[in-house]
């Protein structure tokens, strides 16, 4: 999906001001901004609840203006904060309304309803024939999500879906939503003003302010390289510390340079030669048993027998997968009294996390 210089004017103020961006297939794109920043307007431009005054919105390369809005909307799921379940219809009727209008067979609608209710962790036998007012807020929002998924749309639009829930429930639903998202592989555009929510869920975030998109980037890009004052204010430097909950090893690691890697069972003499010519003080050795060790130049030089294998001088390092989050890396390093962790994906060294420099960046 692509926004090309899109502008929407309300009574002379530009609610959305010359906005251009692309959303890739399969990503969760968060529009982050305070109220009045134009994020909801931007979302509603996508399913043509609002039409732009200038600019074009493309979906798979086609101008959405040329499409029938009703058909367009039926190919997009839409979830809003107020949920908007129809109070006079049962859970099943709510989920099945569009399939019914699309003339699905009754048994197909029942089957689809059951599938979706299972997906959102509501046992169908128990919930199918209840009315919305008989459900809790969290259950209602799950039904809202199920209803949005009824037609199996490739694109999902979500406008602060968890905004009205209490913090604990919100966190639980976010986690559930993330695992559902992994199962479904849908493109999702998600509007929120909650920075933590944005950082927890997003693949990429577009930061909006006064109708403009100020910056688009991954959470760590926004955190560490904000383009200007406003972005860093919205992201909030004081919030950086909270980032240890969602920053992952791959966000904070230093990519591994080949020159730091030494062959195992090298003699000390060989190792010293290589390290001096590469101007490095520290090397990493990967042993055949899977251990990763660090070798320090001064240790090797202090040793008297330069023919000994470097394996004897290595100190074993902590290994973490790339999606390990920063707070558990810190715990792990603290308990093993280390300052360095190796990021490994299956059998390949991807980089290293120097915890001191990471923490300095966070404060």
């Amino acid at each position: 999906m692509k926004f090309d210089h899109v502008t929407k004017i309300y009574k002379e103020t530009k609610a959305v001001d010359d906005v251009s961006f692309d959303i890739c297939k399969g990503e969760l794109f968060v529009l982050l901004g305070s109220s009045g920043s134009g994020k909801t307007t931007t979302l509603r431009l996508i399913n043509r609840l609002i039409d732009p005054d200038e600019g074009t919105i493309y979906l798979n390369g086609n101008d959405t203006k040329d499409m029938n809005p009703v058909e367009l909307r039926r190919r997009m799921g839409y979830v809003i904060q107020q949920i908007g379940l129809f109070p006079h219809m049962t859970v099943k009727e709510n989920i099945g309304i569009i399939p019914k209008l699309e003339r699905w067979k009754e048994e197909d609608i029942s089957k689809r309803t059951n599938e979706l209710l299972n997906l959102v962790a509501l046992p169908p036998d128990y919930f199918r024939s209840r009315y919305p007012h008989q459900l809790s807020g969290g259950q209602q929002q799950r039904v809202g999500l199920a209803r949005a998924l009824a037609m199996d749309p490739p694109l999902l639009l979500m406008d602060e879906p968890f905004g009205a829930l209490d913090p604990l429930l919100r966190m639980q639903l976010q986690n559930e939503f993330l695992s559902i998202k992994r199962k479904l592989e849908k493109t999702i555009v998600f509007v929120t003003h909650d920075i933590e929510e944005a950082f927890t869920l997003a693949d990429r975030i577009g930061v909006m302010h006064n109708g403009k998109i100020l910056q688009i980037g991954t959470p760590s890009e926004l955190l560490f390289n904000p383009v200007n004052e406003i972005v860093s204010k919205i992201i909030g430097s004081e919030n950086k510390f909270k980032a240890i909950k969602f920053l992952q090893a791959k966000d904070v690691m230093i990519p591994m340079d080949k020159k730091y890697l030494l062959q195992e069972n090298m003699t000390c003499q060989e190792a010293v030669n290589i390290m001096i010519s590469n101007k490095i003080e520290l090397s990493i050795v990967k042993e055949s048993n899977g251990d990763i060790k660090q070798v320090i130049l001064s240790d090797l030089l202090k040793n008297e027998d330069m023919r000994r294998s470097i394996n004897d001088f290595g100190r074993k390092l902590v290994i973490v997968p790339p999606d390990e989050n920063l707070s558990s890396i810190i715990t792990l390093l603290k308990s093993s009294n280390e300052k360095l962790a190796i990021v490994m994906n299956q059998n390949e060294i991807q980089g290293l996390v120097m915890i001191d420099s990471v923490l300095i960046n966070l404060v």
């Binding site: 309304i97 569009i98 009315y131």
Partner: protein, 203 residues
């Protein structure tokens, strides 16, 4: 015995005046209310005119029908319809337009057309309001139907007027009491129907 047959005839006339008018009310109000949902200006026009018709004193309304439509059953119906249509139109219009905006937003966002929004969302949610309007209209219709007897529509009003003209208290009461009972039972029946619709799903 003759008097009783006479009375039953009058009650049947009265009820047919009321219900014929109500059916015509609904037939006129329904399309007007739905059009009003889509066109703001039109709704303003409709509500202004029906408000004016409502403001006219019922007896005056009955009187001005005569030079326009003459006398008899049909002119009676015209007067009743004019006098009683406002609550139905107003409640239909309010019921259809005061739907929770979040429901309209989510309904439109998931791909319902404007007409489908009326059919599946606005209308079912407006039923209680519509029934409340219907009840009110029915009671007003009953009231005007008593008066239209003076322009020859028949009904219980004829017995009352005859009773009054001949200073016959018994005759007057034998017209007035059934008219009151009809009003009360209309209120009761529509109230029960309204409650039934509401309790189907509490919202």
């Amino acid at each position: 015995m003759v008097a009783l047959v006479f009375l039953i005839d009058a009650i049947i006339e009265q009820l047919s005046l009321v219900f014929t008018s109500l059916i015509i009310d609904i037939c006129i109000a329904f399309p007007l209310a739905i059009l009003s949902v889509f066109y703001k200006r039109f709704s303003y026009l409709v509500l202004t005119i029906t408000n004016m018709a409502q403001a006219i004193p019922s007896f005056a309304l009955v009187a001005i029908i005569v030079p326009l439509a003459g006398i008899g059953f049909l002119p009676g119906i015209v007067a009743i319809v004019l006098g009683s249509i406002l609550p139905i139109i107003k409640n239909m219009y309010i019921g259809l337009t005061k739907t929770n905006p979040a429901l309209i937003d989510s309904g439109r966002g998931m791909g319902l057309t404007d007409l489908q929004l009326v059919r599946y969302i606005r209308l079912p949610l407006a039923y209680p309001a519509i029934f409340a309007g219907l009840k009110f209209s029915a009671i007003i219709a009953n009231g005007i139907a008593v008066l239209t007897a003076i322009i020859g529509s028949g009904g219980l009003g004829r017995i009352i007027f005859e009773g009054l003209a001949s200073f016959n208290v018994n005759k007057t009461l034998s017209g007035a009491i059934p008219a009151i009972l009809i009003a009360l039972s209309l209120d009761l029946i529509f109230s029960i129907a309204e409650k039934k619709l509401k309790s189907k799903s509490v919202y």
